[in-house]
Symmetry: C2
Subunit: 305 residues, 2 copies
């Protein structure tokens, strides 16, 4: 294997094949873990499945499974945890789209849950998916180093009022206000990085990883999560600029603070580059076993749309 450019050495891993296979496996597992759509009361199970199978990219489950592989674990052992984080992610989107929150009618080109099922059922579908996440996670095998207690605490803390919910609250409160770069980082760390980081950590835990491996995965997950969000902010501005000939993107129209709007485009690009480098550096100890994780990070961080 030549060590020419980053992309040629990483290009040897067939990411689209990996993603297609993992997405199918995750979808099958989610279908297995959730009550069937016809199970009474059918409305709630249809509503849960509507959003869970709405074409999400399954990036969090993929990161979880790839982290397990990096630590020599199996897909089967990581799968309940991969499904649990996807249930949490989906619940947070359903509630985030509600009137009183972001009030969105569409997500990924499909009507949002509350537009199809009404606000009451959408609230309950989110509640049920959040609850389901813990039921699914509890069905994993415990490991010598990681008990069910630790696994449930890991998931609950990432989703709770100091992390994921904290990010949503701070995001809600920041709307229409001028905020500082450190306040924006606070939001992104919790709203995006916390669950991404939890996904890779849980993957490692399912593989009975060493404390040093868990630390490296934490480092990786945190920087991937933050970099992902900074890049998202940059693309929101640059894409729109190129396509519409103006600098105002979707986020700035919605009066949401972004990195470019606070520190400028140049500094945002430097920050994204720095965070991305740190994410890749964190994978060094895993060597070739981290091929899938590295390719996923490549995919998330080197994208142009």
């Amino acid at each position: 294997m030549t060590k020419g450019t980053d992309s040629s050495s990483r290009g040897s891993f067939d990411l689209s094949r990996f993603l297609a296979a993992r997405t199918e496996a995750v979808n099958r597992a989610l279908d297995h873990f959730l009550p069937a759509a016809k199970v009474r009361p059918a409305t709630i199970h249809r509503a849960m499945r509507y959003s869970l199978f709405a074409g999400g990219k399954r990036m969090r489950p993929a990161l979880c499974l790839a982290a397990a592989a990096a630590c020599g674990g199996s897909e089967a052992d990581a799968m309940p945890l991969a499904c649990a984080v996807e249930c949490i992610h989906t619940y947070s989107l359903i509630h985030d789209d509600l009137p009183g929150m972001d009030n969105d009618d569409y997500r990924r080109g499909k009507l949002t849950n509350h537009k199809v099922f009404g606000v009451g059922i959408a609230v309950l579908a989110g509640d049920a998916l959040l609850t389901q996440a813990f039921e699914v996670a509890a069905q994993c095998q415990s490991r010598p180093r990681y008990s069910h207690q630790e696994i449930i605490l890991e998931l609950a803390r990432a989703a709770g009022s100091l992390q994921l919910v904290a990010g949503q609250v701070a995001d809600l409160e920041a709307e229409g206000k001028r905020i500082s770069a450190s306040q924006l980082r606070y939001i992104h760390e919790r709203k995006t990085a916390a669950l991404l980081c939890c996904s890779v950590r849980l993957g490692g835990m399912s593989a009975n990883c060493t404390p040093a491996q868990l630390e490296a995965l934490t480092d990786f997950g945190y920087h991937v999560g933050l970099a992902f969000q900074v890049i998202d902010d940059i693309l929101d501005v640059t894409q729109t600029s190129e396509k519409l000939g103006k600098t105002a993107g979707k986020d700035s129209q919605a009066q949401k603070a972004t990195y470019p709007s606070i520190v400028g485009l140049e500094k945002s690009r430097n920050l994204a580059r720095d965070l991305t480098q740190r994410a890749f550096a964190a994978l060094k100890p895993f060597g070739g076993q981290a091929a899938a994780l590295e390719a996923l990070a490549q995919f998330l961080l080197k994208r142009d749309r």
Copy 2:
């Protein structure tokens, strides 16, 4: 102790003292488990605490602690589970009160969460309390017969789309419709009995109860839960009748089906009596150790308001 009437033999247990002491202990434990009100983001912790400390009677924690005592367990071992069920109960009330659900402005004479903090924060406060329930439950000690895995599964199933959420969905869908007695029972079994039953089962599990004891507690919890709801329905009609001189109560005004409206007052009273007897019968195997449980059931089922 004389075995004269039911009330004289049960009267020997000082329930108000038991309830006052347990309520104080539960409040202290909840205060310990939840992030302080000033912890960032302060809004969410203030909102969670607003509803959690809004004067609830702590019946579910009391049942959980009393069930542990009936099986020879300690208050300390049952406390995380008692707090977890109260977090679930409170989250379900916050979401139930939302516009799009019951749309209530007041609960127990205080403004509902969304009237104080807005809909967005109320949704998130419910989400955070539901998540917190699992974080708190996971902090219990496992028992030789009951692992953390079983305890988390117990809680998640009682709160999930086949039980608590199922009851809320069926209740929402039944509003303004004519439903059968069996449909009403389906709602009450899930909306009320499931979490009450889970509360006593978790109490027993924290005390490492035998399978036979767990079965007796399940039997007790189920019948207490259902009887509680039937009695609630009866009081809604009879109280209003006596006080306002008309038979239409709050539930029938809100077009909610009740037992009296479906099977009549006479049959409802017979049903309540039958369910109550079954609840008390389930406690026989525990003998004197079930004094607190028996007094609690007495309090819940022999009330006139």
